[in-house]
Symmetry: C2
Subunit: 689 residues, 2 copies
């Protein structure tokens, strides 16, 4: 599953800024995640004899949505229907579930708009415009400033630009760092925050084959969910939405993917990749396996506990499997050898051109920075528990509010406030038992990382063991109650300072260390940005221009062809169908993750078994692209991205279409399931209209 | 579950020698794992008004057996029946299982001796005699030798003593290091290597409640299995075996446990405990979680894969849960504070007594050694895969055979040869697919630990990624075939050097690094031994004598009372019964690990539901004690140790009977199950006779 939410789980508050990356300027085959304001028109014309018109591109952009929680989607009807993956929606399904109404197990179908369920905290973004603000940003940074000062100046000017844009247009306004600091673009979004659930299949159908089949192919997953955006309490009227193709796809067909890839690291230097291989990825995997076991253990306590832990567990398992594949790729000596070959050629060319020799030091800078990244690895005081995160954000918000806007931390400026408050005041349930287990483990991790004698640890633990202290914290906080959060936010800094809420006190205990670490990381990132800007300059001079920036969880266009591949001496067909799904279930009888749901078994006779269900194509996608629409030349929806195969997992740092493939649910498959399995013919009829 | 096999899984070839520990000389309450040649007679008389006769003790010792694979057991009939835990036997059950005959799932009952199944590689030890050889060992070590030389001299004299004893008596002869190097005893064992399976229940009954219930109480587990030892192809005739009490236990009753606790660290200095807390245990837990996920993933591939991975997975989960509890105990600030209090008092007393001041440096030595332990942590070239371990042992065996006996590595001397060969030539199945997955992960771990550019790594990988290389190694070895192993052993060093078997080549590639690391560890251990010997001397002088050495996986006697405890404000009764088992299953309906097997459900009406099933007592046990008989004052078997509760997990470094309890299957419960559930009335009748 390719939701960015899952992959980003462990990236929150860590050294690794996913903006610190650079364009692979020379794209090969169907490689590329292109900016909508810089589409690869020449390449499309040359390779695929296709010339997208401006209208074609604008319509596709305005029909695409970003799930701010970490995924993609598309508008699919004039009355607000949105298509995304089940695994992108699962966070919402989980939050809307109770012991009595288990949407994760049982799925959901609203047969009228008044049955549609409001998501507690979703924010959907439609990209309305892009503006280049590179000059404005760079002019505000003194050329001789220290890295620390430069980082502050850059943050300040970005806050000013975002605030001015927000004040002027009323739109969400984000300055995006592209080409690792080479360019800055202002993205303006229309926001939708009233989002309701219309239809979701059972997890058994959406995630058929479970963890075992995840990132594998052939697949048979109905990883789809339909929501609807509302405005003023009514279904939104949309000018831009995708038509839905009623035709089956054919092999070799050209398709496009419009979505929000989360992060790539394509042009990382060899030194940066070695840091990933030898330090960061092993660290992240240890972390993920630890949390996976923790969530499993919690779920063993009973059915309700299993339900509470499940969504997080799935996300962790997904990340673990993805990272395992990525690390395996990096540990293959050939990967680094290939990267080193290109780097050596670049450095050779630089050494032969006197005008560029000053740029060569950027590679050394990046190498030096890796040592600092190594030193900072795992240094955090952000305890991954919902209640602590709420407390920390309230403490930071009320403190930042006392400062001028442009001096505030990223995420706490005026322009970011609405989105922050929506998350902070989410009525989604918080489970005390699960919080306690997670917090105890985080405290234990802090002890391991800082040592039990560290002064801050002693202050945090107050003489208790991790489990005892976690119990004390969870019973001593009111923050599970949204009203208590609201009261603290309304009361501002004074209310926070006066609070004896245990979790608020803990957040205040770690606040200064949190700020120290964050500042240190921002300073490192600034130096990375400066070095990568030089590397971009050198690479462009040597290899030429025309490419795409590394992924930044903003809207991109990828393209590719529907195409099978060779694996272990066998040809893997690009398509699967419903007949294959039933067969796959029978082939794995007795394995729980391969039991198709009752709806599928009972309605088997009604299903046209030849209908395409999943397919693969060569489009260049990554986590965050989950839920992206796949469209044909006519801009009609033909599929829904939900995964990459295991061979594509290395695409974080190198694209290859030899075996790497994006995996989609086919559009016709979704319609067939709605009609023949879910009794949702009316919904199917309203799609694309 | 308290089998030492599982806990020792990650201790193989690591720095941590479990002999490097020291007696807690002052025992409290029912604390203590006493040597059979130094029983706590005064304490038993004073606290429990009980005076064990020499005959009583000898009979109990000779009725006890050690499972060399990592557990305990007892003789329970004159014709060779042996009682142990299902989880001690599960290694054998697993090795005897095939896709068609799943002993793990289905259990087993032989209704006549010709149906009994021969274990492929079990060795059972009966402790025949103990002799103090401290003077002989110490006299052979020069007082001014370097640590490296001292370690070699000590190893040499021990090899000489063992060989002389073996040659003279024909018995297995092991010199055991006690009191962290304060004493050396020669243990002579009668070996039984023809061991056959008589009865085992289903895992669903033995491990009822699964990982969730493991280390918890109340429990309802029939964690028992019966085997039989053979001599000359016939059931062995035994002079010593335990009578079996037909009476229910009563609260407050005095009981004894005779078994082989694997390792304790009771008198580790504070510095040594901090190393455990901050370094070693977090490292081990990362390792275990990694292997747990790996085995789970393998099992997801299908039913047969799940069967192949299950035994190892269970062992890993058991260790992970145990270590998690142990680390939680150490992370509680009170634990170290208590230990530090005692250490401060000792050091104060030493500083006040001029004759002892030279001993104080031992604490500093131990502290210095921890830095070396930290540096060595994770440094190993032992890849944990069956085929690699076989290859490595063959390479070492053939090389060591070329040396005089007393210069050989421990485990490769003449006295150890028989046991080594029995393991090496075990016909137990080796699964290529599982081997490949394990080896790929081990190669990946080596890259993480040494860095991908390390010269040895480059030599090991031969330009491949871990998965590719693992596949190459597993397909390129013949070692799954016992005959191929035998041929190499018979051919000796020349055959090994000439071999192009991929796994033998790999073992030879890492051999010198293996020897270097092993030597370094032995040198560190020697210095630990010398320091702990001084600490023993000082502690004895200050606190007095009369105690027990830390556990060394040799036979010990523990005692305790049958007694409930308070938990969360509630009294936990010491006994459970069959009615409770059925109720517990119903309380967890829908959770797979709580489904009682068919045999239990179908025979429920026949079962006397009031019969005791499990009970707790205060006896001082640890991993390795699994399968130990629990006997009453009359020396009759009343129970079978199988676990400790979660509060007892800290007993590795501190005993407490406030809540910590040993958990047993009751003797009457086993009889009731044999008769009423398993249709094994004949077997039940033959027990104790």
């Amino acid at each position: 599953m390719r939701a960015f939410r899952f992959l980003s789980l462990i990236m929150f508050h860590t050294v690794f800024a996913f903006s610190s990356s650079l364009s692979p300027l020379v794209a090969s085959g169907d490689e590329g995640m292109y900016l909508f304001n810089d589409l690869p028109t020449q390449q499309l014309k040359a390779d695929h004899d296709f010339e997208p018109s401006e209208d074609w591109a604008d319509h596709l952009r305005l029909s695409s949505v970003r799930f701010n929680s970490g995924g993609s989607g598309s508008f699919i009807s004039s009355d607000g229907l949105v298509l995304t993956n089940h695994h992108v929606a699962s966070d919402t399904l989980h939050k809307l579930s109770t012991p009595e109404r288990n949407l994760i197990d049982d799925g959901f179908l609203a047969t009228s708009t008044d049955q549609e369920l409001k998501a507690p905290d979703l924010e959907l973004n439609q990209l309305v415009s892009i503006e280049d603000v590179t000059k404005q940003v760079n002019d505000a940074v003194d050329s001789d400033a220290s890295a620390e000062d430069a980082a502050e100046q850059r943050r300040a000017v970005i806050a000013r630009i975002e605030k001015a844009s927000k004040d002027e247009t009323g739109l969400r306004s984000d300055v995006v760092t592209l080409f690792g600091g080479g360019k800055y673009h202002l993205y303006r979004y229309k926001k939708y925050t009233d989002v309701r659930l219309v239809w979701a299949p059972e997890t058994a159908a959406a995630f058929f084959g479970g963890d075992a089949d995840n990132f594998e192919y052939p697949r048979y997953n109905l990883d789809a969910t339909i929501m609807r955006v509302y405005e003023d309490g009514k279904p939104a009227k949309l000018d831009h939405f995708l038509k839905w193709s009623r035709d089956e796809l054919t092999e070799g067909e050209l398709v496009f993917v419009s979505g929000n890839p989360g992060r790539t690291q394509r042009i990382f230097t060899v030194a940066a990749l070695k840091f990933l291989r030898d330090d960061r990825m092993p660290y992240v995997l240890d972390y993920l396996r630890r949390k996976e076991i923790l969530m499993q253990q919690f779920g063993l306590e009973g059915g309700e506990q299993e339900r509470r832990a499940r969504d997080e567990l799935f996300g962790i398992q997904n990340s673990r499997k993805a990272y395992t594949g990525m690390l395996a790729g990096l540990q293959n000596p050939k990967t680094i050898a290939t990267k080193r070959g290109r780097e050596d050629r670049l450095l050779q060319a630089i050494s032969e051109d006197e005008s560029m020799q000053a740029l060569a030091s950027a590679w050394e800078d990046i190498e030096r920075i890796q040592a600092e990244n190594r030193e900072m690895l795992g240094k955090t005081v952000s305890l991954r528990s919902t209640l602590f995160e709420i407390a920390m954000q309230i403490v930071l918000l009320t403190a930042e509010d006392a400062k001028p806007d442009e001096e505030r931390l990223k995420g706490y400026t005026d322009s970011a406030r609405e989105s922050l408050l929506q998350r902070l005041l989410s009525p989604a349930p918080v489970y005390a038992d699960l919080e306690q287990v997670k917090l105890a483990d985080e405290l234990s991790r802090q002890i391991e990382s800082r040592g039990a004698e560290d002064a801050l640890i002693v202050e945090i633990l107050r003489g208790r063991g991790p489990r005892e202290r976690a119990a004390e914290l969870v019973t001593g906080t009111q923050l599970a109650d949204v009203a208590a959060r609201q009261a603290l936010i309304d009361g501002g800094l004074a209310a926070v300072l006066a609070s004896d809420d245990a979790m608020i006190e803990l957040a205040r205990t770690v606040e200064s260390e949190y700020r120290r670490l964050r500042k240190r990381n921002e300073e490192i990132e600034e130096r990375e940005r400066q070095a990568y800007a030089k590397i971009t300059q050198a690479t462009t001079a040597i290899e030429g221009t025309g490419g795409y920036p590394d992924a930044t969880f903003t809207l991109r266009l990828a393209f590719g062809t529907v195409k099978g591949y060779q694996e272990g001496g066998q040809y893997v067909e690009p398509f699967t169908n419903f007949a294959g799904a039933y067969q796959h279930g029978m082939d794995h009888a007795g394995q729980k993750d391969f039991d198709l749901p009752k709806s599928w078994m009972e309605n088997k006779a009604a299903v046209d078994l030849d209908t395409q269900l999943n397919f693969v194509c060569t489009a260049d996608i990554i986590g965050g692209n989950s839920g992206s629409p796949v469209v044909n030349r006519d801009g009609e929806l033909v599929g829904l991205i939900f995964d990459g195969n295991i061979q594509s997992l290395t695409s974080d740092y190198v694209y290859s279409d030899e075996q790497g493939r994006a995996v989609s649910v086919s559009g016709v498959g979704i319609l067939e399931a709605l009609r023949s399995i879910y009794g949702a013919g009316d919904l199917a009829d309203s799609i694309g209209k």
